[in-house]
């Protein structure tokens, strides 16, 4: 049944697990493909967890991908590759936040946060009318601010669910908790965010 063939199938057709297996055995092309698929999500996740601090997020994500490359030979496939990577990023961002000095919150300190949110917002489309564009920008900035106000685990759970489309079980793995706890965190996060969206408009 087995016969020699000219070459292995292209990496683009392989599943994340198959790519992780090959990358663990030193296949750089497989790692680059895995990176192309999962890097944008890891950077987005770290950036939002770190209140839009792009430089800190880049550091954390870089460290996470270095750890991933080193640890792939031992990756056993007990979770999805995406969940495994988000877990590494989650720990990195948590450590980064713990090292930050606590700051008193007042209006002056919130101003740079709002500024960062406006810097990260999507580029306006030339085809939308000015009023609609203004409303979209307002929605975007309000959500950024509301997210920054959420407790760490709620914010993390909301982003993994709404932006990265992870299941409750996968989020529970990343946050080292149970799906039931995740369900509760998400419920509270959605309610708080919806209230803030209304209050701050």
């Amino acid at each position: 049944m087995s016969a020699e063939k000219p070459s292995a199938p292209p990496v683009g057709d392989a599943s994340d697990h198959a790519l992780a297996r090959r990358a663990g055995l030193g296949d750089r092309e497989a790692f680059a493909e895995l990176f192309a698929r999962l890097f944008p999500g890891t950077l987005r996740y770290a950036t939002h967890l770190l209140d839009g601090d792009a430089r800190a997020a880049e550091d954390v994500v870089q460290e996470a991908w270095i750890k991933a490359w080193r640890a792939l030979p031992d990756f056993a496939g007990r979770s999805t590759v995406q969940t495994w990577l988000f877990t590494i990023v989650q720990r990195g961002t948590y450590d980064r936040r713990r090292r930050r000095r606590p700051l008193a919150v007042d209006d002056d300190l919130l101003e740079p946060l709002a500024l960062r949110a406006s810097q990260n917002r999507p580029a306006p489309s030339s085809r939308t009318d000015p009023e609609r564009e203004y409303l979209q920008r307002e929605l975007w900035e309000t959500l950024q601010l509301a997210l920054s106000e959420l407790p760490w685990t709620q914010r993390s759970a909301w982003m993994l669910r709404e932006l990265e489309d992870l299941s409750y079980a996968e989020i529970a793995q990343v946050l080292d908790t149970t799906p039931t706890v995740v369900r509760g965190q998400l419920h509270r996060a959605r309610r708080t965010l919806a209230i803030r969206m209304e209050q701050w408009r």
Partner: protein
């Protein structure tokens, strides 16, 4: 924050929920900007440059002064087998190296497609691994001081699809 937040007077919660859904859609749709592309390139290069744990393996006589990293040997064995085998892919390559840097055995762990004749694939994998080792470490002379033994190629798991493209973990999910 353990309890649900009360909805303040005057706050229209359904409207807030609709706004939240719209903002989340916007957030999901944000494309990666030029800065993200630049960061991605840098991170990928740095990750690939990070060293992995490895041991140095002594090549066969008359090149015993040469040492080859276990990472390189593993990568070449995988590449040769994955490129040549149909319905089987490498899962692990375990190299047993003694304190003197001599390779004493190699274990190649395969994933095969369900229904594949395992004995045939195993023999083919053994021959290919032997060839790859000869190319990287040199061909040992019969009875030479650097014995390179293929421990065994065994089947650790099976897949329904092409094992080059899927993993048993995909099909368990």
């Amino acid at each position: 924050m353990s309890e649900l937040e009360e909805v303040p007077d005057g706050v229209d919660l359904p409207r807030g929920e609709a706004d939240l859904a719209a903002a989340a859609r916007q957030l999901r749709a944000v494309p990666a900007g030029p800065r993200a592309v630049e960061v991605a390139n840098r991170v990928l290069q740095r990750a690939l440059a990070a060293p992995r744990r490895s041991v140095m393996i002594r090549a066969a006589a008359p090149h015993e002064h040469l040492r080859v990293s276990s990472i390189a040997v593993t990568a070449i064995v995988r590449e040769r087998l994955d490129e040549a085998l149909v319905d089987a892919a490498v899962r692990h390559v375990v190299l047993d190296v003694d304190r003197d840097g001599l390779l004493s055995s190699v274990t190649v762990d395969l994933v095969v497609r369900y229904g594949t004749v395992v004995a045939d694939v195993g023999e083919q994998a053994r021959a290919l691994a032997r060839q790859a080792l000869d190319e990287t470490l040199g061909r040992p002379e019969p009875g030479g001081e650097v014995p390179i033994a293929i421990g065994h190629a065994h089947v650790s798991d099976v897949t329904v699809g092409d094992p080059h493209l899927v993993d048993p973990a995909d099909e368990r999910a």
